[in-house]
Structures are given as structure tokens and as C-alpha cells.
């Protein structure tokens, strides 16, 4: 199959973004053994050839072929945001080619055409998938939480997790085969990273490399059980549903933001009485299911009203996370308490990162987001954990890390270089607390 990746008209798209888009093209077509060609508008050839001398960039052809797959690299302009390369895309569509565009995160989506059946993954994988709209992204009803489907970033399983392994097979693994199960929200899902760029993939590589260098008879598999919107209670439900038999040797709970944000706007009666933080938008599901749209819910309309105090939210979050840790330990695992990074903790950033933050920030989140940095500060000052529970403060680490590099793509989602740091942080924690302390020997029974 011939694949033509088309560079944008605007020469101002930063090279870091173009690199990620190129990586996206390579990744999406890797298995198809595609014949990949890079083309650019005539007027921009010189510019892009200078930036990417290794790519052998040709001029955009006058005609595209009907059996071709044309992929438009999205441009990014500091002032105007993103736009796909419309002219080439339209010409290619008219010629009958399959046309897609690649976003700054590497996500590939159809360009002016419906998603094909190949692209719509898992639509019939379970009744809850079948009952859901056949859409490429969205939250769908699932009786034990919800599933979130987000296509275009690589393989996902029927519950929306970026897992290609069979969990059932992993449950029958050898005693020297260790499983690390990582939980979190969409930042943990690594929303702006391609599959091989996820911190979980890199973590797996680090741990296996460490063992190989030291001739340790250990093998690690790292699973990403992150899901958009997850708070700690969702993580526990996910663990109960999918990980009980699996008995992960290590659980990483990489979270904080969702609990901090949702906690401030959810029903105080759920928080104060029951320490339940949930996605406030789930109240919308209740209204849909029970046709109670006229019944008031916690938030009436935008803007959000903050109804719960930050420290009260922290207490519930910490309590639930301790509960999660207890569940994990009772099932034989080591629990790592991760605190995810947020942009507001990062005081210095590159102009590119600042620009992306400006474009991608959701202004409706601002009232809650304004409090998160302070909440995380209280958490790190006040949290008392036992020695068996490593605390990995990714927020503190990220706050001063490489201000010249593109680390964050928005308030909370990391770009690939950010996931590189995350992987390093968790690898160091696991090496120190699990491997070097010999805990892997205790668990191998």
C-alpha cells in the first residue's frame, strides 16, 4: 500500500510537533509494511528538506491515486492553532484516495470521510460496546464504571485500555514474570503519546534492561489500565474487575488531578458523608437514564461552582487511595503512590509549551484547576506513608524539569518527553523498593 504523508503549507509548525506527527505516520502504518513517502508543497520543499534531510521529501504530486492512503500532517500556528492541509486533502479525496490527518499528538483520524470498519475497533466486543453509538470517541455506559473509547492512537482493548496482552494469559505467568499494573486517568492513558511512547512501555523496557544487565532472572510486563476520567474509586473498580486474578506484583496509582478537580464540584453529601469523589458529569447519565433532566443536579450550568473545600477533597482522596493500597496489598502486590504532574506546578516553560497550553486549556476548568497546585503542595507536605509504600512525586519532579523542552501538551497531559521522565521516575522507584530490596523473591511463591 502506498502511503503519502503530506507536510503542511505553514512553515511555522514547530519541528517538535512535526516529528511527533511523522512518528505517528510511521507507527500507524508499521504493521501494514506500507510504502511510505513524504511530500510537501513546492514552495515549502526547501524548508522541510532542511529540517528533515533523512526523509527524502518530494513535491506534492499533481494527482493522487485511488488506492493510495494520503495522510495530512496538521499544521500548528502560534496564533491560529491547528489546521489540516485542506487543498491536498480535498484533491486526494476527489481522486478516490483514502485520506486521514495526523494531529500534534500523533493521533490519526479520517479526513472528511467516515471511520472505516477497520478503524472502528471493538464495536462488537461486548453488549455494552454494541449498545453504544458507533463513534470513535466518547464515554459509554458500563455497569461497573464506564468505558471510554478513544480511537486513532493505536490499539485498545474492548474496555478502552491500551493493552494488547491477554490478561487471562498473564494471570498464569511464571513466578519470575512480574506484572506492573499502572492506573490513572487520561494522562496515565498517555493521551498525547503513541503506543510505543507511553510511559508504561518505556517502564517495561527500563525494568527488563535493568534485569538483563544484572543477569537477574526476571521479566517485567507493564500494563496500562489508565482510563479517561478515572478517579481513585474507578481505579479500584478496574482493579477488582480486571486484576484480581492477575495479581499484579506491583500497582502504580498515577493520579491526583481528577480527584482534585471533580472533588471540588461533586455533591458535598457524597464527599462529606461517604468520601466518594466521582465524575460530576455522571449525574448527566442519571438524568438521561431516568429522564430527569428537569431535576437539578449539583452543577446547574457553566461556569462550575466550587462546592467542596480543597482540604476536604484531599482527605477523601487520600482515604480512598489508602483503601486501594490495602486492596492491592491484600492481593499480594506492592503499591506505589504516584502524584501526577500538572502544568500549574511548572513555573518555567518553553514558548512552544506555553502556546500549546494556551490553545488546549479548557477555560471552564479554570476555577478548579487554580486550586490544584496548592492541593498537591498540601498533599506532599502532609501525607504520611509507611516505608512499604513508595511515594513518587512526579509533580515535583516535573515542575523544574527541562523548561526548554516540550513536556506538557496541556494542563495535565504529557507529551512523549514527559512520559520519558515518568518512566524513569517509576523505574527508579521500582528498582529501589522492589528489586534491590529483594521483594520480588518474597512474592515468587
Amino acid at each position: 500500500m502506498k502511503v503519502s504523508a503530506v507536510f503542511p503549507w505553514e512553515p511555522s509548525t514547530p519541528v517538535e510537533i512535526l516529528r511527533q506527527e511523522i512518528e505517528g505516520v510511521r507507527t500507524h502504518f508499521a504493521e501494514a509494511n506500507a510504502n511510505l513517502a513524504f511530500v510537501a508543497p513546492e514552495a515549502r520543499l526547501a524548508t522541510f528538506r532542511t529540517l528533515f534531510p533523512e526523509l527524502n521529501i518530494a513535491a506534492v504530486p499533481r494527482k493522487f491515486a485511488a488506492d493510495e492512503h494520503v495522510v495530512l500532517l496538521e499544521s500548528y500556528h502560534e496564533m491560529e492553532g491547528y489546521s489540516a492541509h485542506w487543498q491536498s486533502g480535498d484533491r486526494a479525496s476527489q481522486a478516490g484516495a483514502t485520506v486521514s490527518s495526523i494531529k500534534f499528538s500523533g493521533r490519526m483520524v479520517p479526513y472528511k470521510r467516515p471511520w472505516s470498519s477497520n478503524e472502528l475497533q471493538n464495536m462488537d466486543a461486548s453488549v455494552f460496546n454494541q449498545l453504544s453509538p458507533r463513534e470513535p470517541w466518547g464515554f459509554y455506559y458500563f455497569p461497573f464504571g464506564y468505558l471510554f473509547r478513544f480511537l486513532g492512537m493505536g490499539p485498545i482493548n474492548s474496555f478502552g485500555c491500551r493493552i494488547t496482552h491477554s490478561i487471562r494469559d498473564l494471570a498464569r505467568r511464571d513466578k519470575d514474570h512480574k506484572v506492573v499494573a499502572c492506573f490513572g486517568g487520561s494522562a496515565g492513558w498517555s493521551m498525547f503519546c503513541l503506543h510505543h511512547q507511553m510511559y508504561t512501555e518505556l517502564l517495561q523496557q527500563h525494568l527488563n534492561a535493568y534485569c538483563k544487565e544484572r543477569n537477574l532472572e526476571l521479566q517485567f510486563t507493564v500494563l496500562n489500565l489508565g482510563q479517561h476520567g478515572h478517579v481513585v474509586m474507578n481505579e479500584m473498580l478496574t482493579y477488582m474487575n480486571f486484576c484480581w486474578d492477575l495479581k499484579p506484583d506491583i500497582v502504580v496509582a498515577h493520579d491526583g488531578y481528577n480527584d482534585a478537580m471533580y472533588g471540588q464540584i461533586c455533591d458535598p453529601r457524597m464527599l462529606d458523608g461517604l468520601d466518594m469523589i466521582y465524575q460530576e458529569n455522571l449525574e448527566g447519565w442519571s438524568q438521561i437514564l431516568h429522564q430527569t433532566a428537569d431535576t437539578p443536579r449539583t452543577q446547574h450550568s457553566l461556569p462550575y461552582r466550587l462546592v467542596n473545600q480543597p482540604v476536604r477533597v484531599l482527605k477523601s482522596y487520600a482515604k480512598r487511595k489508602r483503601q486501594f493500597a490495602q486492596i492491592v496489598r491484600s492481593n499480594g502486590g506492592m503499591f506505589i503512590w504516584g502524584l501526577q504532574p500538572v502544568a500549574s506546578s511548572r513555573k518555567k516553560r518553553s514558548p512552544l509549551e506555553a502556546g500549546l497550553l494556551r490553545h488546549n486549556r479548557n477555560p471552564d476548568h479554570a476555577p478548579m484547576a487554580a486550586n490544584v497546585e496548592g492541593m498537591f503542595r498540601i498533599l506532599r507536605q502532609s501525607l504520611k506513608l509507611d516505608d512499604d509504600t513508595p511515594f513518587v512525586d512526579c509533580d515535583a519532579a516535573m515542575s523544574t524539569y527541562r523548561p526548554d523542552r516540550l513536556i506538557l501538551g496541556d494542563e495535565v497531559h504529557l507529551m512523549p518527553e514527559g512520559d520519558v521522565l515518568l518512566a524513569r521516575l517509576y523505574a527508579d522507584a521500582i528498582v529501589s523498593a522492589y528489586i534491590e530490596k529483594g521483594r520480588w523473591r518474597e512474592a515468587s511463591q
Binding site: 494522562a187 476520567g229 481528577n258 478537580m261 465524575q279 448527566g284 447519565w285 438521561i288 450550568s301 495535565v412
Partner: protein, 66 residues
Amino acid sequence: MADDARLRRDLQGEVDRLVAECKASGLDNAARYLADNRTAVVEIAIKARSEPKTRDLPSPFVYSMQ
């Protein structure tokens, strides 16, 4: 459609009242602008009044913090 026609009529009336009030108060600049550009002003007003006053919460189908 009936709502659109009613909105247009209401706003035409409102603009005419404003013109009268401005003239009575000696506010010639405003009176002249509203009267002489009545058609355009009414179109601008229709667009303005058609915008929703409150913003709905996002659908639970498409939304999360992260």
C-alpha cells in the same frame, strides 16, 4: 420560523423605540446611527439575542477532566 419572525418584529420595534428616545433626548449620533442603519442593526441584534444566555454543562458522553 414563527419565532424568528417574531424576534425580528420585536427587535425592529425596539430599535424604533430607541431611535425615538434618542431623538427626544437630543442624542443625535445614536438616533442617526440606529435609524439610518436600521436593517443592519436589526440583523446584529437578532444574532445577539439568539445566543444562549446560559451555557449548558457538557454532555456526559463526551466529557472528562482528564
